[in-house]
């Protein structure tokens, strides 16, 4: 399958005082039509910078973003507008991402009007369709965001992102502001969008169990680099990178047996301003050897469809090994 969205060697850095913070370092990832890619990382991993770069919210130092084979950096005018229509985003916080003074009908109709879609009456019908699609009652259209619960607001935000029938939906921590019982509603809605409408989904989150629930493939970011990428089930069942294994074991599962299989890492993630030599993970890695402190392992094909940046892939078993 050819990639709908392809990111090649994307590097982004920010000036911080006199230094430079390398937020993304030669990241390459792709998303096929109708596929869900999960991007997992902790704070400072660069995952939100990646989303911003995709939405053209910042200028990369190097690398290309190709949409349908065309580099988006050269888009302008009508072509840029068309691209923006085809890729939409849902943010973490449904409380701050919706204009509190606008009715839901206006929030949903605005992107349609901005792209000159339909007459006023047709747009009203589209708004009703969108509300039904995300499981909100028809009379929701007349209300303000403040009259909804957090989960319902996130439905409004998803409806707004769907208004322009995008081919790619980027969801950055879409449920982390919501209660557990409500999270499941939004997760199921995203899953349905993918299965019924064939939307390609990029789910960015810190919660590996959540990402696994939604994704076909998962990529793990550490300090601005992809350290592992592969099919979601394979990556979770048998992680190749020791950081993936630790992240899996750190994901608190409501399972009384889980506690005995913990890998607790030493120390904290280093600053991207002061990246360790060699493999950036080596100071915290339970299986690091002298080589890891000297040479940076390249992200290389390890098995069918799996890539890993580690000299000793699979040596640290994940918490689910043998279960």
């Amino acid at each position: 399958m050819s990639a709908l969205l392809e990111v090649r060697d994307l590097s982004v850095s920010f000036r911080v005082g006199r230094g430079r913070l390398q937020a993304l370092d030669a990241v390459s990832l792709s998303l096929a039509r109708g596929e869900t890619l999960g991007l997992v990382g902790e704070s400072g991993s660069g995952k939100s910078t990646f989303a911003r770069a995709l939405m053209l919210g910042l200028r990369p130092d190097a690398g290309d973003i190709l949409f349908d084979g065309a580099p988006v950096s050269r888009l302008a005018g009508a072509a840029l507008k068309a691209f923006r229509r085809r890729m939409q985003m849902v943010f973490q916080d449904p409380y701050s991402s919706l204009d509190p003074r606008m009715s839901v009908a206006r929030i949903l109709a605005e992107p349609l009007a901005a792209h000159g879609i339909g007459t006023r009456a047709e747009r009203a019908r589209l708004v009703a369709d969108l509300l039904a699609k995300v499981g909100l009652p028809e009379d929701a259209a007349l209300r303000l965001p403040s009259q909804f619960s957090g989960g319902q607001r996130q439905r409004v935000a998803i409806a707004r992102a769907l208004a322009l029938s995008p081919e790619v939906l980027i969801a950055d921590e879409p449920v982390s502001a919501l209660d557990v019982s409500i999270q499941a509603q939004i997760v199921n809605l995203l899953r349905d969008l993918k299965e019924e409408r064939g939307i390609a989904l990029l789910v960015i989150a810190h919660d590996l169990a959540l990402v696994h629930q939604l994704s076909d493939r998962i990529a793990v970011l550490y300090l601005g680099r992809v350290v592992e990428e592969g099919p979601a089930d394979a990556l979770v069942a048998a992680p190749l990178h020791p950081y993936t294994a630790a992240l899996l074991s750190a994901s608190p599962q409501p399972d009384p047996r889980a506690a005995s299989r913990r890998i607790v890492l030493k120390g904290e993630p280093p600053s991207a301003l002061d990246r360790p030599r060699g493999c950036a993970f080596h100071p915290r890695c339970p299986i690091a050897r002298p080589l890891c402190a000297e040479t940076t392992p390249p992200l290389a094909e390890a098995a069918q469809g799996r890539r890993v940046a580690c000299f000793f892939p699979g040596e640290l078993p994940g918490p689910l090994a043998g279960s």
């Binding site: 619960s149 557990v180 499941a184 810190h206 899996l248 599962q253 409501p254 889980a258 607790v264």
Partner: protein, 309 residues
Amino acid sequence: MSDGLELTDVAIAFGASRVVDGVSLSVPRGSVLGLVGESGSGKSMIALGCLGLVPRPGVVSGEIRIAGRNIVGLPERELRAMRGGEVGIVFQDPMTSLNPVRRIGALMTETIRRHQGVSKPEALAIAERALAEVGIPSPAARLNAYAHELSGGLRQRVMIAMALVNRPRIILADEPTTALDATIQAQILDLLRARVADAAAVLITHDLGVAATLCDRIAVIYSGRIVETGTTADILTAPRHPYTAGLLRAVPRFDPSRPRLVPIPGLPPRPDARPPGCAFAPRCPRRIARCDADRPALADGLACWNPVA
């Protein structure tokens, strides 16, 4: 009489809103209870009640016994002597609970001297030892740092060191790892597990997974009332209350078959507009006629007329 924490029929009301509506709990010394609930369930208000910190115009009734002494209605002077002394506290965000304009050493020696009555140099030595015990590298140097100069994980370690330094009988930890990254959360849970052994500890969390890693027993709270209590293993593997069972079905697991998550429909009632019977009845898949009429009391660790078989 218990030497831990004992709540008997505790209610915390703001006018007509009974945010906490008749909670009884017992946490003996040497055990960790997980108090698990979603936002608005009243779980954090219970923590404030145990500290005598319920904001005005909240009214606390019932009994909150710490090592046998009922603290409801105690004068502020005695409550202040208790907080940070007999009762250690760890909050979610150390940035808002550690005074930003004072050095870590000053914050720690103040609480040590207030509760232990030692000299300043002695207090500094105790503070340094306390930081070392929670795994803070170069503790002597950290005493001179300000909270904002530390990472989130280190700040939470400082908070835990301060909570433990006066050897409290009770430790309250309210969402202590919610603001932290997964690998740092694992470290802090490990630390708490190792360090709270002598006390009676309450971990307040929305996350059943976090409770599973740390707690001996779990109490599930819904709309200001305990709906189920039991050992961690029983709650997680054989939940009896439909709300507990619903929470467990709503959490994603690492299961290759990826069963569809089962959301709980609807929302919790407002505390001033609870239905007359069971507060969960309107959302409950096992609702029967009696659930709307009579409020089930907590008996044998369960408040339900039609429990999960």
